[in-house]
Structure formats: C-alpha cells, structure tokens
C-alpha cells in the first residue's frame, strides 16, 4: 500500500516536472487566439468597432470584453468567421456594411495641409506641406479616417469598380436557366 502510494506520488512529481518543463520550453510567443482573431479582421484600421485598430479589437474579443459583431468592414462574413472560430453564436452585424471603397482627393481643392496624411492609419496618402496630396489607391483601405480632418473637404469616398481582373464568376445556381 505504502509502496503504491509512493509510486503514484513519484509519478505525479515526475509528470508534473515534465509538464512544467514543457510549458516553459514550448511557450508560445504572443497570444495565438488574438492572432487568429486578427487574421479574420479586415485590417481596415478604421476604429468603427470602437477600438483604435483591428488588433486592440482582437484583444478585446479574446478577453471577452467585446462582442464579435462590431466590425462593419468585415461584414456578416467576418462575424460568421469569428463565430466559427470562437464557437459562439453568429449574430447580425452592429453597423452598416458598405461596398468596398477608396478615398479620392480632389487635387484642385487640396491646399496641402498634411492633416489627412497624419490621419491615415496605413500611410496611403502621399504629399508634402503646401503640395498637392494624393491617395495611393491600392494602399487605401477605405477607412474614411481622412475625411473629417480635411479643412477644405476635398476628400470623397468612391466605390471600387469591378474590373476584368477582379471580376468573379457568380455562383452558378442563378445562371442555370440562361446558359446553354
């Protein structure tokens, strides 16, 4: 009996030590859940979720402080993916989903104040003091953060037009009756 207890105790100690060692040795850098959540968020960095960027929102979700339906750019699809990842119930988006858009500076009106440059979270605007500014379309996430600071209101949002290169084949079901 005593021996059995001793063996069990020894086993417990050895395994405990092994586990402890493993937890130190194979420690994961960063928080994997936050990274996974962040990978789903669209990285628009618009702050519409109420957090100063996608990462803070991801952290808030991971901590259970924020709901999963606060990111309008991610849309219903994003909510669905988050729900899948976290094993939660998908719910309707808290906000309005907009078609993808980019900002456009009316270059004739721009006074070169650099305020929009400072506002853009992803460095998508180029320009210098008292020089005309312009937006690099391919880098713009459409977050709208550059609109309010512009003193002459020369920035507008334009929906992104579909091109031959970005066009997608539609889901077949609808087309069935028309095609040969």
């Amino acid at each position: 009996m005593l021996i059995a207890i001793a063996i069990m105790a020894l086993g417990a100690v050895v395994l405990g030590a092994a586990l402890g060692f493993a937890s130190v040795k194979f420690k994961v850098e960063g928080d994997p859940l936050v990274d996974k959540i962040e990978a789903i968020l669209p990285q628009t960095q618009c702050g519409q979720c109420g957090y100063p960027g996608c990462k803070p929102y991801a952290e808030a979700i991971a901590k259970g402080e924020a709901d999963i339906n606060l990111c309008p750019p991610g849309g219903a699809e994003g909510v669905g993916k988050l729900a899948d990842l976290l094993g939660r119930e998908a719910k309707p988006l808290d906000g309005v989903e907009k078609p993808p858009q980019v900002a456009l500076i009316d270059e004739n009106t721009c006074i070169g104040c650099t305020l929009c440059i400072q506002a853009c979270p992803v460095d998508a605007i180029v320009g210098a003091a008292k020089q005309m500014h312009t937006i690099v379309e391919s880098l713009c996430t459409g977050c709208e953060l550059c609109l309010p600071p512009c003193p002459v209101e020369c920035i507008t949002m334009e929906p992104i037009q579909e091109t031959v290169d970005t066009w997608k084949w539609k889901y077949p079901v609808v087309e069935l009756k028309r095609v040969a």
Partner: protein, 611 residues
C-alpha cells in the same frame, strides 16, 4: 507520320465535332471593319502602356501599346487610321465589363508601316526574344501567354521535345486545321524559330487524326523545308489539344501543376503561334490579325483572316447569322463563353465565334442532385474528383476545394459533359477559383495594411519619444538659464542701491554715446538710422532691465546666509565673465561696445560691490 509509340491521358470525352461545316471553303479575308478597338491587355502578364493619343494618325502594324515588363507583349494598330479614343471599351470577357482599348477609325487605305524582315539566325537569342515580344507574339491556342517567355530552356534540364500543338480538339473550331492546310510552309518556318531558340532533341507536331489533310500538308511542308520534324496523328479525343494532354500523349510526360514544362525538358506551342512568329520575323508583320472560325447558326460557316479589334457582331454578320441567333459564343462550346457584349472586339485569344441559337444549344434541363456516380471523375483528364470539388464549391468551403486540387482543373468541361445530373460542374469550379483568388487578393491587401499600420504606429511612437526627449532637453536648458538669471538677480539684490542707480544711465548711455559722435560726420539719413537703431536697442535694454526686476525670483525669500552664498557664487561667475568680456571687447571694434554694454552693467556692479 512516323510510327511512334503514343501514350494515353486519363479520361476525355468524344463530343460531336461539328467541324465539317466550316472546312469546305478556303480562308477568306474579312473586310475592313468600320472601327477597330484594340484592347491593350491581350496577353498574360503586364498591361502594355499606350503609345498613342486621341487624334494620332497610325499606320497598319504601328506599335500602339508597349510591353510592360518581361511577361507582356506589345499590341499594334491592325490597320491605318485615326485614333478616336484611348479608354474603356467593351471587353471580350465573360464579365461584360470594359477594358482599356485603343479605338481606331480606319482610313480605308490599310497602309503598312515599313516592314523589316530580320535574319533571326544572325541575332543573339535574347534579341530574338525581345523582337517576338515587341511583335506581340503570344500563344494563340487560347492561353495568350507571351511566347518569347516560353523560349528559354530550363537551366538544369536539357530540352528534349518541342511539341507543336495542331490537335485542335474543341468542337466547331477549324482555324488551325485550315491554317495548316493552306499555310503549312510558314507554320514550319515558325516552328524552326522556336526550335532554334530552344534547341530540343526532337520536334513533334501533334494533329488529331480527324484532320488528315492538315497532317498531309504539314508533312509535305516539313519535307520541303528539309526539317526533321515528326508529324504525329493523335487519336481524336477531347481534350487532346490541351497542352498537358498533348505532351502526355506524345512524350508520356506528366507535367505537374506546380512545374513548368521546361523543367521536364519539354515545351509546347500552338501552330498558329508558330505561324505568327514567322510572319513577325520573316516578314516584319506584328500580330494584328488571326484566323477566326465563324460557325454555328450561320448561313455560311467559314474561316476568316480577321483584324484584331474587329467588333464581333460586325464580324459574325459576314457569315450570315440566321434570324433565331440570340448570342455569340467566343471559343468552342466546351470551354468558350457567351459574349455579354456583342460589339466586343476580336482579340488574340479569339479562335472561334459560334452563333448561338436555342435550337443549336437547347437549354439544359435543371440541375439534379449529385448521385456520386463517379462518371465525372472518370472523364476528368487531370484525374481530379469533380464531384468532391463540386460538393465543397457548392458549400463555399473553398479550403476543401483546394485540398482536392481545384487549381489543377483546366476547365475543359468533360465532367459537366458526362454528368447525368446535368450539374454545371465547371461553373462551380470557376466560381470557386475566382472566389479563392479574390480572397487571396484581400488577404494580401489586409496583410499589407496591417504591416503599414503597425509601422505607422511604431513611427508615431518613435516621433513622440524623440519630441519628448527634445522637450526635456529644452526644459533642462531653460531651467539652467533661469537658475543662472536668478542667481544674478540675487547677487544684484545684495547691492540694490548700486543696481538701481547705474542701471538707468547704462541702459540709456549706449544709445546716446555712439549716436553723439557719429552724428557729426555722417549724413542726416544715416544719422537718423543710427538714432533709430540706438533707440531700439535702448528700448530692448530697458525691457530687459524691467524684466529682471519684475520677474518673480526664486531667490526672493532667502536667508541672509543663503543670499551671501549665492552672491559669492555669482561674483565668481561675474569675474570670469568679465575676463571673457574684456578679451572680447579688445578683439572687437569699438562700436561693438553697445552689445556687451547692457549685460556688462550688472557684472561691473557686482564686481565693484564685491570689492
């Protein structure tokens, strides 16, 4: 037609070929269209940069779009005329969207640029490749991959076979057939160009055995040219004309999806591509036209030599579409698509236009559920499992479709062709593929945005820190200065009587003294200016004196002992300053006296008070 061992590819189907209709008449030249719209992007790779502007006069064969990068090919004016528009125009694309085009109004003269034939054998291969690119030579089999970029053998694997694709397996299409029948000699010359660039051990020309005339013409031309190319009849089985299938049939080699065929020592070109390569080098004619089969629901199916940019509806009208024609299919019935915009121009990839009618292509009965019969898997030439890919594409589970190698699918349509449930499998695969591409684009954009966002945050942080450091430094400097001033004030307080008395004369003094003697020899204006300057200086000195008097000092409430200590320190400093100043005064010209005068005042005082 040598006796060689042929291999088989898996799967394949035998749809009705419908080729006989369009081979009865020889190739005809399509009349000059009323307008030509040449899309800039007509090949895989970079979009050519337009070289012309609205209003420019262009000649037939003039380059109007310059290749952008290595994987790209130039585009040229198909006829002489005036550029009416450089902008968006209907695209020959299933989307029906617009694309960048150069729209030319022909002047009817069809006047060529100066054509220069080159002796390509005398040129280094690099230059030949550049020429091919600038002549706009691309794969005319449908893939429109720039040909010059395919003429480089792999570094590690020696080139063994050059496969020339004259199989033309897709129903209805006969343009390659007619090309080989009528222009075999020039096709052979074009093949020789690719042979010279790639230097393979042998050249195999694969032609489906339902085109004996073409095969005979080619064999004769090969013989006449004294070449050792082998013309091989391959069994008629769709899709034998797929590059991978033909390579498999002729060489037994399987080219995996992630490898280039040159990595396996083999390369494949279409016969029409070879023909245009020869026209480009041997005649100086860039690719401005191609053979197009007009067939389907038309009165007179036939092959035409058509200028690139010819509107499809205008072209089809030549063949006399019957009244019940309700659309145009570009390409064949297996892999082609219904053109959403009939005025879309013929492009380098347009090998066939089929007039569509409900009688010819009766609408399919509705799709039924998949019964997992496996017929599609048996028909698939790439040994895929279409029913699995369909299942997941339908459920929009795109990750799974990729696990079933959806990107190996060449969209040949064999699976849809055999499916007893009439499921449009290919459409599901196209849908899934474009969704996956879109997702990849989004993901890349999001990753880029994230990186830039993090960088910006990092930069803001750094800037903030730098600013804080600068501020701290400035504050420290300010504090030191204040302390010094305070000490000085304290020192002067030690002898308040003397400070008050000499401060006034000293402050005004410098203003008066230099002005006085200067006034006599100088002109009135200069005197006035000097007086003004002196007045300003005096005002500044006064202001300064005032400031030291009124500014709250942290030395106000000190014990006599502390005051004594501060005064001692200040006195030592003042002496040092005095020494420095006298040296400065000696070195400087006398008028400089105005500058040190004011600060010197308290120094002098404290000095004397010390004594």
């Amino acid at each position: 037609m040598g006796l060689m061992q042929l291999f088989k590819f898996k799967g394949g189907v035998k749809p009705a070929t419908n080729k006989a209709q369009s081979v009865t008449l020889p190739i005809a030249k399509a009349p000059l269209p009323s307008v030509v719209a040449v899309p800039l992007h007509q090949s895989i790779g970079g979009t050519p940069r337009p070289l012309v502007q609205v209003g420019d006069k262009v000649l037939k064969g003039q380059m109007i779009g310059e290749a952008d990068g290595w994987i790209s090919a130039a585009v040229h004016a198909p006829t002489s005329g005036t550029v009416r528009e450089v902008g968006m125009y209907a695209a020959a694309h299933p989307s029906g969207l617009l694309t960048d085009c150069v729209v030319i109004e022909p002047d009817g003269e069809d006047r060529w640029i100066e054509r220069q034939r080159v002796d390509y054998k005398a040129l280094p291969p690099e230059q030949v490749r550049e020429l091919l690119r600038d002549m706009g030579v691309v794969g005319l089999g449908g893939a429109v991959f720039p040909s010059h970029a395919k003429t480089q053998a792999s570094r590690s694997v020696p080139m063994e076979e050059l496969v020339i694709n004259g199989a033309e397996c897709e129903p209805y299409i006969t343009c390659d057939d007619l090309l080989m029948r009528e222009r075999a000699a020039e096709v052979v010359k074009g093949i020789a160009i690719f042979r010279d660039l790639l230097q393979p051990k042998k050249v195999l020309i694969g032609i489906e055995d339902n085109k004996p005339e073409a095969a005979a013409a080619m064999a004769e031309a090969v013989k006449a040219a004294g070449e050792d190319f082998q013309v091989v009849s391959v069994p008629t089985l769709y899709p034998a004309g797929g590059a991978k299938q033909l390579i498999r049939v002729l060489t037994g080699k399987e080219v995996p999806a992630n490898k280039r065929s040159t990595d396996m020592g083999v390369q494949c070109f279409n016969v029409a591509t070879a023909y245009t390569a020869w026209r480009a080098l041997g005649h100086g004619e860039p690719v401005i036209s191609r053979l197009v089969t007009l067939t389907g629901n038309v009165a007179e199916p036939r092959n035409y030599e058509v200028l690139i940019g010819t509107p499809m509806d205008e072209l089809l009208a030549i063949a006399g579409p019957k009244p019940d024609t309700d659309g145009i299919i570009m390409g064949g019935p297996m892999m082609g698509f219904l053109v959403p915009e009939a005025k879309a121009p013929v492009v380098k990839a347009t090998n066939c236009l089929i007039a569509h009618s409900p009688a010819l292509f009766p609408p399919k009965a509705p799709e039924m559920p998949c019964i997992r019969c496996g017929a599609c898997a048996q028909a698939c030439p790439h040994e895929l499992q279409p029913f699995q890919m369909y299942w997941f594409a339908r459920a929009k589970n795109f990750g799974k479709t990729q696990e079933y190698n959806i990107f190996d699918c060449i969209e040949c349509g064999c699976c849809s062709f055999v499916c007893p449930s009439r499921i449009p499998l290919v459409q599901y695969f196209r849908f899934a593929k474009s969704e996956i591409w879109a997702r990849e684009r989004d993901k890349k954009a999001a990753d880029g945005a994230k990186t830039r966002f993090e960088f910006k945050q990092h930069r803001d942080e750094r800037e903030k820190q730098e600013k804080a450091e600068k501020l701290a430094k400035a504050a420290a400097a300010q504090a030191a200065k204040k302390a010094a001033e305070a000490a000085a004030a304290a020192a002067s307080e030690g002898a308040p009587a003397e400070v008050a008395a000499p401060a006034a004369p000293l402050a005004t003094g410098p203003g008066d003294t230099p002005a006085g003697p200067a006034a006599a020899p100088l002109s009135p204006e200069e005197a006035a200016a000097a007086a003004k300057k002196a007045a300003i200086e005096a005002a500044m000195a006064r202001a300064k004196a005032l400031r030291t008097q009124t500014q709250p000092q942290n030395t106000d409430n000190l014990t006599p002992a502390q005051q004594q200590e501060v005064a001692d320190i200040e006195a030592r400093r003042a002496r040092l300053r005095e020494i420095a100043k006298t040296e400065l005064v000696h070195a400087d010209a006398p008028p400089a006296a105005t500058a040190p005068a004011a600060p010197a005042a308290p120094a002098d005082n404290s000095d004397t008070s010390e004594k």
